[in-house]
Amino acid sequence: MTIEQKLSYYINKASELTGRTFGKKIRIGILCSFTINGLEEAMRVKSAEKNIDCITYVGGYNQYNQEILNHESNVYKFSPDLTFLIVDTRNILGNLFHFPYSISASERRSFVEKKVKEIQNLANAFTSKTKSKLVIANFPLPTYSPHGIFETKTEYGLHKMIEDLNSRLIDSFANSDSIYIYDFNGFVSQYGEDNIFDYKQFLFGDMKISLDYIPYLANDLIGYVVGHLGLSKKCIILDLDNTLWGGIVGEDGFNGIRLGPEPPGNSYLEFQRVLLSLYQRGIILAINSKNNYDEALKVIKEHPYMVLREEHFASIRINWNDKVSNMKEIANELNIGADSMVFFDDDPVNREYMRINMPQILTVDLPQDPSQYAQTIKKMNEFSVLSITDEDAQRGKMYLEQRKRSDLEQSAPDLESFLKNLDLKVLIKNANEFTIPRISQLTLKTNQFNLTTKRYQESDIKKLSEDDRYVVGCAQVTDKFGDNGITGVFIVRKENPKEWFIDTFLLSCRVMGREVEKGILGYIINKAKENEIERIKAQFIPSQKNKPIEEFLPNCGFQKDGDYWIYQSKTQFTIPDFLMVSVE
């Protein structure tokens, strides 16, 4: 388990952050019903460690109602991207926290009903006034009850009230893309009520979260920052010996490695189970191991207790090459940035070597004790996402199909015959309730083949799609190996009756290099012609990562015009004949 620093470390470190420059920026509002000093410092320092400039605003002590209801309040002036609302159980229950049985069960039910409505109203008032996402902490369930062991037999007792309140909060905002519920109750149970809630700190300084645990809370909340900024890690690269199993297969042999239901082999089993659950959520897995290929692969294919099998790995490098060159090859093969990759290796020397040569990769310090591996990965906030789409769940399968495509590509005599053999189909879809989450996700995550790198949250895409002046669409790409899912996005603004402007045009790296972009652009051009548009204007905004799209506009017949590129609709545009483009 990662050892957390003391709060004073964060407080002092935060004061040294001024003047530093960062790659990303986020504005965070914290509205709280109690003293929560130190949280903003811990969040700023933890953000800085991820190269994020975090600017914070902390609302006045117990002023959250006024801050949210008053249009002119400081939180709105601050204009956050992300706001946390943390109200503690004492505060929401008022007198009933101590005296829940001073009223009847039906009165307790009406009380909870009323509180749910109050929070709903507050949340809706907030989101109607600002673009900020709102993260509402749920309510920790105190273990104590005046009814003691009879609590569980009590009709709609204190505990049931809080459980009901929490579950209704989740239901209230289940379909919202701007309001999220943070499982604060889960946080308290993870670290323990007696640790988090220290009576002396509470009675002496109104601190309802023990100071030692504020950095842990910050760690949880940073997950939302990672998700909001689209910085979630996409791929886990794994060593094999002493990482996925105990021992060294080259020395201990197939039967000698430790992997199975007994200790210590069960530590690796447990770790593999966590990895498989992440794979099922859309995290890509890969192997980077110094080993004899056949020997190691035999374990992966045939060992009775391997949880992860060959099909779960999008890329496999088992050889005696340098781990850094292997890593570069994996990044190339999967077409993802090193900054989306996480490396697990039990050997501290390998880790250090990777850190020095590829600092963009997050190299995790695996503990010496393998029984702690599962916990280490579970505590990471780097995989946090604010939405999980159907594409995510299918990702592992898609990469396996990709491996088969690569094999075909290598056996094809040239690129064109490869593409012709692929049976590529591009299905153009409009933005609708099913596609909007994925469209937003692609604008947030796509770096390489992205003309303007404009980032849009779900609520932004929803607004644009409802605006008559915009055409918002996406493309689903399939081929004979399977479905790549929605992998292209375009947003076109109708400037005037004669001109359209391409605000966003992007393609996921998953389908780059197959001329799918020409199919999508051809669709836009044809649609423009149908609407008697004379010119299509576009812009290429260079970023550190979007070089792959640099030549796209000139290659497609756009002419340079100052900072923009213009396509005259009368120009002939040909969609490659190996692409079948259709519209849903």
Binding site: L7, S8, I11, S15, K200, F204, S210
Partner: protein
Amino acid sequence: MSKKLYDLVAKVMNVQSSTINDESGPESIENWTSFKGYVLLYELETEFKVKFTINEAMDVKKIADIKRHLKNHGAILND
């Protein structure tokens, strides 16, 4: 023990350890806010494995007070 104590105070208050003595407190250390006072007490509790009572916590006006309370709890002072 004085050194260990002074070092911790210096770390929490973000000042040089050499500027700390038994008479140091909120008056003499500019960075000593009431919140940092709380932080100091809780980090002392972890470092010296003691638990101050709320009365002791409220009684701290200078480093000498902390020393006295630490001694009462049996923390080993080498000076």
